[in-house]
């Protein structure tokens, strides 16, 4: 009897506490106003002089917060590394979602180059239109996912090439940053000629950084998907 009374008291107290915190948090959040002049509007003001890119989101990711992007790419690499340690994977593993379907194979064969081309288009035009390294890399990886689903064991990823791409793009990002220290003044400074807004060869180092980020994200998400799909023992 006393235990039951105890639990009821606990429930009432925690319920009151949660509702009090909810009301406090909601009243604070509803009172906030982000629409004044803030960091974003000043970044939009200086964007055209500093970067000459048509997409301010790309400028923020690759130039104004370039060092943070390097850290985020490192987190991505570390978590894929952890998955590689955690999931046992060998070339003799079978794809667990594969089944034989000629129509699916034919369609995947037609669609795969188009998807990869679209992904690289998104990566390269990151400073001109919506898109960039993260989005395009994921789109390229989804093309590889389609091939892995359609073909099963018949589709082999060359892990050596993927490793080379991934490590070279990671090293290239850091190399661009160090070149910025040598030729410019700070890490990841824009030392290339800026060009004209709206042209493909413009805005300095930003397309190069996004190409490196895109290659790295594509390689990592592809490896992630392959680790998850190819986990059943053949025999």
């Amino acid at each position: 009897m006393s235990i039951k009374k105890n639990i009821e008291l606990q429930t009432i107290i925690s319920g009151l506490l949660v509702s009090f915190m909810t009301i406090t948090l909601l009243s604070v959040l509803l009172g906030l106003d982000y629409t004044d002049k803030n960091l974003g509007s000043s970044l939009i003001d200086i964007n055209e002089d500093l970067t000459r890119s048509a997409n301010v989101v790309t400028s923020v990711v690759t130039y104004f917060r370039g060092l943070d992007t390097l850290g985020e790419v490192t987190i991505l690499f570390l978590s894929i590394f952890g998955i590689g340690l955690g999931i046992e994977n060998s070339p003799h593993m079978k794809n667990i979602l594969s089944y034989d379907n000629t129509l699916l194979k034919l369609g995947a064969k037609v669609l795969f180059p188009l998807i990869v081309l679209f992904g690289f288009y998104i990566i390269i035009h990151g400073h001109l239109s919506p898109g960039g390294g993260f989005q395009g890399g994921v789109i390229v990886a989804s093309g590889f996912l389609l091939m892995l689903l359609a073909y099963g064991e018949a589709f082999h990823l060359n892990h050596k090439i993927i490793t080379v791409f991934e490590s070279l793009s990671g090293a290239g990002f850091v190399l661009i940053g160090i070149l910025g220290v040598i030729l410019g003044d700070i890490f990841l400074s824009n030392m290339l000629p800026l060009g004209v807004v709206g042209q493909l060869f413009s805005s300095g180092i930003m397309p190069i950084i996004y190409i490196f980020v895109g290659l790295k994200v594509a390689a990592e998400i592809t490896v992630l998907v392959e680790y998850f799909l190819r986990t059943e023992d053949v025999g």
Partner: protein, 81 residues
């Protein structure tokens, strides 16, 4: 017009989120989660964030569903009571 779109998207997102959490069959739960990703893509596009919408369209409705489904196939598919 934009107010109606945002209201409708939020109502459907809340319903789908409730269904994801309460559904007993884990495979249906994953499919509902992919529908949730699609709904939030629409919301991001309405909020004039096309970059985020593009990312969420591929990740929320594609790759996260595959990751969940494949790890589900290797474990149990029903939530025990």
């Amino acid at each position: 017009m934009i107010g109606l779109i945002v209201l409708g998207a939020f109502v459907s997102l809340i319903i789908v989120a409730y269904l994801v959490v309460m559904e007993r069959d884990l495979a249906s739960s994953v499919i509902l989660f992919m529908a949730f990703g699609l709904g939030s893509t629409i919301l991001y596009f309405v909020f004039s964030a096309p970059d985020v919408a593009l990312t969420e369209a591929v990740i929320g409705a594609g790759i996260s569903g595959v990751v969940f489904l494949v790890s589900l196939l290797q474990t149990q598919t029903k939530e025990s009571r």
